[in-house]
Structures are given as structure tokens and as C-alpha cells.
Symmetry: C2
Subunit: 246 residues, 2 copies
DNA sequence: CGCCGGTTTGAAGAATTTCAAAGGGAGTGG
DNA sequence: CCACTCCCTTTGAAATTCTTCAAACCGGCG
């Protein structure tokens, strides 16, 4: 297995360990899951609404996202998924996909047959609990986005999203100082937070001129974490991390 | 145990049975969970953000809801919970509550110690899967609300919410023809869908003058289900019911 | 060089909020 | 049984946020 896949499994272990500290045996049982690796280009669907998957995916490298297309072609993005995430674990229990999972960048994805995941959770109940818990955190993130879309202004929402992304990248060791990979377009941000691209653009300019963030190439740098947290009304509690950012 | 509590457990069984058809033994194991019944007045919190619950709750009668209060006192409602629902099952795996659960009406609630739920899921893995699945449907509902807040107009959102409530009440046998219990205020609707009370009022008037719904007392009647579904862009797929409404 | 996806800008328009106040209806106390 | 109160609904008008449309710009890449 490639280094990258091992690293992704380690990030998964790390994430799952946040309350139930897994034993070495449990971590190894996860790492030894049989996988089929696929390399996908950007903007490819991993699973589609209506599919009845027989396998789950683990993001090894790249950025994936969950989304739905509504009647008139508009898109709502629900979440972003980085290395170590398992965005469609729900397919274990919900036969039919009610939304899409796709890649935002070229990505390497590991597919694991449901039967092997089931076998793992049957023999390792604590791993099962960890997977369950992981999905509950997904739901907590959805709720936090709902708060944003329902009750916060565009500026707060965008600042909050940057705080969340930074915190999650940091939790799995994928930040570089105050920078993290940022391949998102302003349209993606808008489709995530319920805003038009034009408005995202104007708010981003504020964040930049206020020296809160800087975007260079496909990297976002947080220039003033304290103030960004304040502007974004960001409290990482909902992410249920063991070591929240200082 | 009172009739009402039995009925609530039957609704829970019904809900959990939607994919994994539970055996009589499994249903009985659920029904025999030890419970402490409490009667709560309207507008009481069942659990609060920051709490570390040692028990889960089952709604027996009444209407509960999950919500969060943001900085300036504004409220975001995430979901509504009726008889047979277990709105804080997540506390089994997420130690600290990241939001509140409260009553909207006077309600009867059954509390079940975590240790008994854990014992049940250890001896009955299929019940565990059913609980897990139930939480995944919660998350699917969150996503659907996100679509609404991000990408649908106020009219569509409100019509959609009414469709959802009707469908969920119907699934547990609590509708009366095309009517269902409706104790929500226009402020509640607004706090659910990210709208002001004033605007909710104006949209409700449209729905009423268009003869789509009627609100009398604390009952909402759907006057034209087909058109309401259409206006609300409602597709019940996300609820993952076995028998979606015709 | 020229294309392409993404960003930026301007100006007009729409949806929705805010503020302020009046109206209604159900329950409570006198 | 009336009067009062409280909560919720309804209405009007002005203000704001955000969207839409349209076009120019920009930087990387084949």
C-alpha cells in the first residue's frame, strides 16, 4: 500500500480516536481493510444521488465534497472532506444515496466494500462506536452551517467557514503554519453558504483588506486568527475535537 | 407503564423498522427499557448546550425541538421531534451537548439511562444498527433544511416544512385525514428556516389564500397535497421511509 | 497567442428585514 | 361575565442585504 494511503488511514485513526482511544489492534484492523485505490480527476462524482453503493470511500488525497442539485440547477454544498474522511459511511445503513459526493480537486480515493466494514465493526465494537460518533460530528457540522445560513450575515458565515476548514486541516496535521490547502472557488463558497458568487467576492475583499486572510494560489493563510475567530463567531466545540486549537 | 408510553415505544419500533425489520424479541427488548417518565411544561429545556447527559430521552407526547442560541440572542431551530423520536441519542457518543433540546408544548418524556441503551445495543446489534440509521436520517433532514435555507425562497421553504411535518406525523400514525398537530408559532417557523416573523406571516397568507393549507387552532390542514408538494419542491426520499406518502 | 475558468466591478432590482404599531383571541382573575 | 393581559398575528412603510445581469479583467496553460 502506498505511503499516501497509510497516511490517510492514520488520519482516520487519529480522527476516530478523539474520544474512544483506539488500541493498536483496533487501529491495525482498520488499516488492514482491503481497499481499491482510484485516482479521480477534479469535478468527478464518487457516488450519486439514487445510487445504492456496495462500498464506502476513504479520501486519501485531495478534496471531496457532498452536495445536491435542486430543481433549477442550483447547487447546495453540505460539507467538505479531506484526507482521512469517510464521507459516505452512511451508505452502510441508508441503502439509497440522497445526495452526491464528488471531487473538487484531483483526488485519490480508497474504496472499501461494505461487507468488510461490517465484518470489522462486528468484531470490533469500539471501532463501530467510533464510526458512529464520526457521523454524529458530521451532523454537528451540518447544524453549525444551518446556524450560519439561518442567522448569520455573509461576512460571519465566510469567516466561520475558514475557521472550520483551518481547524479540521490542523486536526489531521495538514496545515503549514497558518496556511491550508484552499482549492475552492468563490462559487463553491457561495454554494456552501447560500450566497451568490458576486457577494462572496465582495465579502472576501473585506476579509483581505482587513488583513484577516490572504489567498495566494491555492493556499489560504490566516493572518489574524484571533480576529477571524471573533468575526466568524467561531467556537470549535461543535467539532468535538480532543485538542481544540489554541 | 402507561398506554401513552407504550404507544410511543411502538412508534419508535415502527420508525426503527423501516429498513431493518426488527424481530418481536428485539422490539420487546426496546419496549422493556427502564424509563423514568417526566411531564414537562411548554418551553422547558430537556438538555442544554454544555450538558453531559447520562441518559437519553424518548418523546412520548408533545412536541420537542433542537436549537441553538447565537451571540446576539437569535435562535436557530434544527429539527422538530414528535412521539417516538429520540432526539438526543447522540449523547451516547458525544459527551458534551453542542445544542439544546427543549419542549415546544407541554410534553411527556421518557428518560432512559445510557447504560441501559448501551446494554441493549451490545446484546442486540441489529437494534444498534437501527439507532445508528435513525441518526443518519436526522442528518439527512438537516441537509434538506440546508438546501432550503441556501437555495430556496421563503415560500418554497415553508411549504416544504409543512410537507415534511405532515409526512413524518403520518409515518407514525398521528395524522387525522390531511390534518396534523401544529402548535408552532410564526416565530418558530422563522427561526427554523432563517426568516423573520413578519415575512413568515406574509408567506403564510399566500399559502392560505391559495387554498394550499389552513390553520385552525393548533391544527394544520393540507387542502391540496399535490400542489403543496409541488410548491415546496418536496421529494420524501430523504426521509428514507419504507412507505412514502402517495 | 489565445483560450478558459475564475475573479472583479458597476448598476439596477428583488427578496427579505427591521421598526413600529395595531388587531385578535384565548385564558385568568376579579 | 366582564375586563385585562399576554402572546401571537397582522399590517404598513422604510431600510438593508443580497441577487441578478452584464461586462471587463486576469493569470495560467496548451
Amino acid at each position: 500500500m502506498s505511503m499516501a494511503v497509510n497516511a490517510a488511514f492514520e488520519r482516520l485513526d487519529l480522527k476516530l480516536s478523539t474520544i474512544i482511544r483506539l488500541t493498536e489492534a483496533e487501529k491495525q484492523a482498520i488499516t488492514r481493510l482491503p481497499v481499491i485505490i482510484r485516482d479521480l480527476r477534479a469535478d468527478q462524482d464518487i457516488v450519486r444521488e439514487g445510487d445504492r453503493p456496495t462500498q464506502c470511500c476513504l479520501i486519501v488525497e485531495g478534496l471531496a465534497y457532498r452536495y445536491k442539485i435542486v430543481g433549477d440547477g442550483r447547487r447546495q454544498i453540505f460539507s467538505y472532506h479531506i484526507s482521512g474522511d469517510t464521507p459516505d459511511l452512511q451508505s452502510l445503513h441508508l441503502e439509497r444515496m440522497d445526495h452526491n459526493v464528488g471531487t473538487l480537486t484531483a483526488s485519490r480515493v480508497a474504496f472499501i466494500p461494505h461487507q468488510n466494514v461490517r465484518a470489522l465493526t462486528e468484531t470490533h465494537p469500539r471501532v463501530l462506536a467510533a464510526f458512529w460518533r464520526d457521523g454524529l460530528i458530521d451532523a454537528a457540522i451540518f447544524r453549525e452551517w444551518m446556524v450560519g445560513m439561518g442567522r448569520r450575515t455573509a461576512l460571519v458565515r465566510i469567516a466561520h467557514l475558514f475557521c472550520e476548514l483551518f481547524t479540521r486541516y490542523r486536526a489531521v496535521g495538514l496545515t503549514d503554519g497558518n496556511s491550508f490547502p484552499y482549492p475552492l472557488t468563490q462559487t463553491d463558497i457561495g454554494d456552501s453558504l447560500g450566497l451568490s458568487t458576486v457577494h462572496v467576492n465582495r465579502v472576501m475583499r473585506n476579509l483581505k483588506t482587513e488583513k484577516l486572510v490572504d489567498v495566494t494560489g491555492k493556499t489560504l493563510t490566516i493572518l489574524d486568527w484571533e480576529r477571524l475567530k471573533e468575526v466568524g463567531e467561531f467556537d470549535p466545540e461543535y467539532l468535538h475535537l480532543r485538542n481544540p486549537p489554541s
